[in-house]
């Protein structure tokens, strides 16, 4: 008998809000964290906009010691540590003391795309300068893929599985499903899951070179055409982290913890880079299968879905995504669920996108609202031909929600879809 799994804690470090209260306020009001970065202009980027969470020096010291911050230069680890510790605290769980046993029932799966790229750059310069001996003791910890989970593991005293996953822009959604399965199979009581992405030109450069970012709004960061807009011309790169504390239902009930949502189930698959799928483009057949598999795993029918938190990046692929949802659910026009995408307010936070967006989805489910999909005054005509325009929420709507879906798709033809439910009886 599989255990039921719920979410009892949330944490977020987003370009438009750090911490749950600020972030919630920002998404409700449609407040964007997209800004112009002079350094990107200096470096001759096509897209000189980005999303970077604002974190003060004092805030850093609430989470990391002076010693840990010495020669510290990994924005992704900082974001992940803040989001992760916030989620733990939000769930009402405590860290263990130095002389106690590890928390055998608490594990961590915290993913990233590339980790500690600024630190890695520092190291590369020293190595090329024949100065490898001067890298210091934290070069490895700050650049390893498992950096966030290792830092969090030490801060918390986690004693279950502590690891990192990596599946491009699906990383955060995958991390949640991996943690979900671990608890469902009885291998842990608590799993702190999430994902992070570094800030800056060394992460964003490759996307700029691929021309998947927009070059058209450098002088008007507040007006970048949003996801599903007819004017969408590419994404703005972002950064940050999102985290969730997953827990077995029985444990959450025993503790009397706040239950944000139940994870009903989900699916992860791959398009195999076959058919229309490739390293960078999704295979629609696989996306549709991922969605229908997620419904089956969750034990619900397509008609029960009330809301979708889309991957929707503000590129030409948005239309394909809507087609895929519509085909997979066999729902269109007025029968289609409500849908939005956070990326218009945060940019595409890459490996962190799934986790930050899951946090936004859970907040909507828990409190009963749908945030505005910003800068989409002009819905793409092909999308409008598939679903009713009212289903793309452009103004804050207060509406009770019960069953919702979140999906993320990424390079390598990876797909992940998860179904959440708010159950008033638990």
């Amino acid at each position: 008998m599989k255990k039921r799994v719920v979410i009892t804690g949330l944490g977020v470090v987003s370009p438009n809000g750090v911490g749950i209260p600020d972030f919630k306020e920002a998404i409700k009001s449609g407040s964007s964290g997209i800004r112009f970065f002079p350094e990107l202009r200096e470096l001759k980027f096509s897209c000189q906009l980005g999303g970077q969470p604002e974190i003060s020096e004092e805030k850093k010291r609430e989470y990391l010691s002076e010693l840990q911050l010495r020669n510290f230069n990994s924005s992704g680890i900082l974001y992940g540590v803040i989001a992760g510790m916030d989620a733990l605290k939000d769930a009402g769980l405590n860290v263990t003391n130095q002389n106690e046993e590890p928390l055998w029932e608490l594990g961590i799966i915290f993913g990233s795309g590339t980790s500690g790229v600024e630190k890695f750059r520092e190291a590369i310069y020293k190595i090329d300068d024949k100065n490898v001996r001067r890298l210091g003791s934290t070069s490895v910890a700050q650049t390893m893929t498992s950096g966030v989970s290792a830092y969090l593991g030490g801060l918390i005293g986690a004693g279950n599985k502590v690891t990192a996953n990596s599946s491009a822009c699906a990383t955060g959604t995958e991390a949640l499903l991996m943690g979900f399965e671990h608890i469902a199979n009885g291998k842990a009581t608590y799993m702190l899951c999430g994902s992070t992405s570094d800030y800056g030109p060394y992460i964003w450069g490759g996307f700029d070179a691929m021309k998947v970012t927009t070059y058209k709004y450098n002088d008007m960061p507040q007006n970048v055409a949003g996801p599903m807009s007819a004017n969408a011309s590419g994404f703005v790169p972002g950064s940050g982290a999102g985290a969730y504390l997953l827990e077995s239902l029985e444990s959450a009930q025993k503790r009397g913890a706040t239950i944000y949502a139940e994870v009903l189930g989900g699916a992860i698959n791959n398009g195999g880079q076959r058919g229309e799928g490739s390293m960078t483009a999704p295979n629609s057949i696989a996306i549709q299968k991922c969605i229908t598999d997620a419904l089956t795993d969750a034990g619900i029918t397509a008609s029960e879905l009330e809301y979708i938190n889309g991957h929707l990046t503000a590129t030409i692929k948005d239309t394909d995504e809507i087609k895929n949802w519509s085909s997979a659910l066999n729902r269109k026009d007025n029968d289609f669920p409500y849908i939005n995408s956070l990326k218009g307010m945060t940019g595409h936070c890459l490996a962190a996108s799934g986790s930050i967006e899951i946090v936004s989805a859970i907040l909507q489910l828990h409190e009963g609202f749908i945030f505005p999909n910003v800068n989409c005054g002009n819905l793409h005509p092909e999308i409008a031909s598939i679903i009713a325009s009212e289903k793309v929420v452009t103004k804050l709507q207060e509406i009770p929600l019960q069953t919702i879906a979140k999906a993320s798709f990424g390079f390598g033809d990876v797909n992940a879809c998860v179904i959440f439910r708010k159950n008033k009886h638990i």
């Binding site: 010691s65 002076e66 010693l67 010495r70 130095q98 001067r134 210091g136 003791s137 934290t138």
Partner: protein
């Protein structure tokens, strides 16, 4: 530079790497850096880098092997700045 002058410059470097449960007043010349002061052995390389910057000297791998307590560090520094 006298041995005391070196110690005065060295003490704040070591202090930076003390774990939370060890106090700076526990530092003395005979303190074993890892066993008594509980400094994470990985941080010994950071202490050496800080010493190199402070005294403008360079430690060799063999020097690292001789580094056990505070006095070892003082002597090594003394030898290097005398050269």
């Amino acid at each position: 530079m006298t041995s005391d002058e070196i110690y005065d410059l060295l003490e704040p470097i070591i202090k930076t790497y003390l774990p939370e449960d060890v106090s700076a007043i526990d530092i003395n010349r005979s303190s074993d850096l890892t066993r008594e002061l509980n400094i994470n052995s990985a941080h010994l390389v950071d202490i050496v880098l800080d010493i190199e910057d402070k005294f403008n000297i360079e430690f060799k791998n063999e020097d690292m092997e001789k580094l056990r307590n505070v006095n070892d560090a003082v002597l090594l520094i003394q030898q290097k700045i005398a050269k």
